[in-house]
């Protein structure tokens, strides 16, 4: 991987802050930075062929429609889906999961039905199901987190004996970096007669995904976590499932015909896309995929692994620091969360910020993970393609300043 070229491609790293320090951005698990090519793709749309899509006869609208649909095809190829009918544009991972909860869930889950979640989920893969469970009387079971920061698959197997209708789990923890064995979990769910929703928000940005091989029934991710713009995400669903699901949001574009008192739904994927979509964002998303494709996802994963390995090694040397999650550095995502026993994560993040180092402090939208680990909050560093070992050194140096200020005298 050509690190120099990558930094070159991301304008945000070219500008030092008011103290002359370049940006050390360690919050890519929250949202990534954007390469120039993504911004230019959107700019070109707005400046040369901006128009609403799908129904426009004129040339600009055709260009816009084509660009929008080209991204859909890129995403299909990217995750190895069978057909673009399986690729639905949403705002983000969160909306994708809610779409399944509202459309599939409300039709197929009933009082007394079981479904399985994990203790490791992001709020976006918990709250929609809590709302549904409350409304319909569905029973939620949870796969616990082991002390090593993995999912307890023994308990999973026991929970599957309750014949759940659906299993929802993340493909990579945004707090602990854990990569659960999704493929095995999915085939176990199928063997037990359950469908499987895989939260890919932290997967797709960081590793190759073959959704046909994984065989997940639903799969959700966000563009903004993989070099793309805010405002657009994806729901993948198996065609036969999507076909059988009722529409979710009603409005323009998701219809074939509308009379005053009735409508007929459009074909997939449009059936689930109501109103003017995030057109520029889809176009930017396409450019983000092109950018990642040109690096190659194996190279991305390898690069992140190297940094993560070094980060864990160096962090463990710091007295009073405890890493939340697996300490192994193989087959692990690049999110590294930790606590320092003498200082609150907010103070850590704030002091690091003075060094122009951006880390996240708090519960990272996963309170139950923190509850499980008996902490209120943690500090998280997460790495991506534009980071290097130097960023780890800066983080460690920053933590030394924290220690000077807050360490026991």
């Amino acid at each position: 991987m050509d690190e120099k070229q990558i930094i070159q491609d991301f304008p945000i790293f070219h500008q030092p802050d008011r103290n002359g320090k370049t940006l050390c951005y360690l919050d890519s698990a929250a949202t990534t930075q954007k390469p120039l090519s993504v911004l230019e793709a959107m700019d070109t749309y707005y400046k040369t062929y901006n128009a609403n899509i799908h129904r426009g006869v004129y040339h600009l609208s055709e260009l816009a429609t084509e660009a929008h649909e080209t991204t859909r095809e890129k995403i299909r190829a990217w995750i190895h889906a069978r057909s673009t009918t399986e690729i639905i544009f949403t705002r983000n991972t969160t909306e994708s999961i809610n779409l399944v909860a509202y459309s599939w869930g409300r039709k197929n889950l009933n009082a007394g039905d079981h479904m399985i979640l994990t203790e490791m989920e992001h709020h976006s893969n918990l709250v929609p199901w809590q709302i549904l469970a409350e409304e319909k009387g569905v029973e939620l079971d949870f796969i616990p987190i082991t002390d090593a920061g993995e999912l307890d698959l023994e308990v999973y197997r026991q929970l599957l004996e309750k014949h759940p209708k659906l299993v929802c789990a993340t493909g990579m923890s945004n707090v602990m970096g854990t990569i659960p064995p999704s493929k095995e979990m999915i085939s176990a769910a199928h063997a037990a007669g359950a469908l499987f929703l895989l939260d890919g928000a932290q997967m797709v940005p960081h590793m190759q995904v073959d959704i046909r091989d994984l065989d997940a029934d639903f799969f959700a991710f966000s563009a903004h976590k993989m070099l793309g713009p805010t405002g657009i995400g994806v729901l993948y669903g198996k065609e036969s499932l999507l076909e059988a699901m009722p529409p979710f949001l009603g409005g323009g574009d998701m219809i074939k015909k509308v009379h005053l008192r009735s409508f007929s739904a459009n074909d997939l994927p449009y059936k689930f896309e109501a109103g003017t979509p995030a057109i520029a964002e889809a176009i930017g998303f396409g450019a983000a995929i092109d950018y990642l494709a040109q690096i190659g996802m194996d190279a991305v994963f390898e690069h992140e692994s190297e940094i993560t390995r070094y980060a864990i090694q160096e962090l463990m040397k710091i007295p009073g620091l405890k890493i939340i999650g697996p300490l192994t550095s193989s087959n692990r995502g690049s999110a590294v969360s930790f606590t320092l026993d003498y200082v609150h994560p907010h103070d850590v993040a704030q002091i690091l910020d003075r060094e122009n180092i951006c880390v996240r402090a708090g519960h990272h939208c996963a309170m139950p993970v923190h509850e499980r680990c008996n902490v209120d909050a943690s500090t998280r560093a997460s790495f991506y393609i534009y980071n290097s070992l130097t960023d780890v050194d800066r983080l460690i140096d920053g933590l030394k300043i924290v220690h000077q200020l807050f360490g026991q005298d």
């Binding site: 799908h54 129904r55 006869v57 055709e62 429609t65 084509e66 074939k256 015909k257 074909d267």
Partner: protein, 130 residues
Amino acid sequence: MDDLYRENILDHYKNPIYKGTLEPADLSFEDENPLCGDHLRIDLRVDEKGNVTDARFSGHGCAISQASADLLLESIIGKNIEDLKKLTKEDILDLLGIEELGPVRLKCALLSLKVLKGSLYGIGQKDEDL
């Protein structure tokens, strides 16, 4: 794009040869273009060997969809329905004498093919399979 409204197409639109209905017909199918609500029906008469002996289209739509229907029916008279199943998008563009068409107008151009194939295969044929 600029050859879209050549004399040939305008002629087939303004003075269609195969516009009308066949009662009774051996095969009959109708469908519409959801983008604009244009509606097309095709009636076919077929002999024992499966050769098309007569054909008509009815409905309403733009010049492209109407002309393509007229041109398509003209081209299939005498053909066997097994051959009709092999017709592709390119065949329609050839008939219209145009090389490329934007996605929206393509749906207009292909509506007649979609309806024709529908009459052969039954309901639910997807555009992508054309």
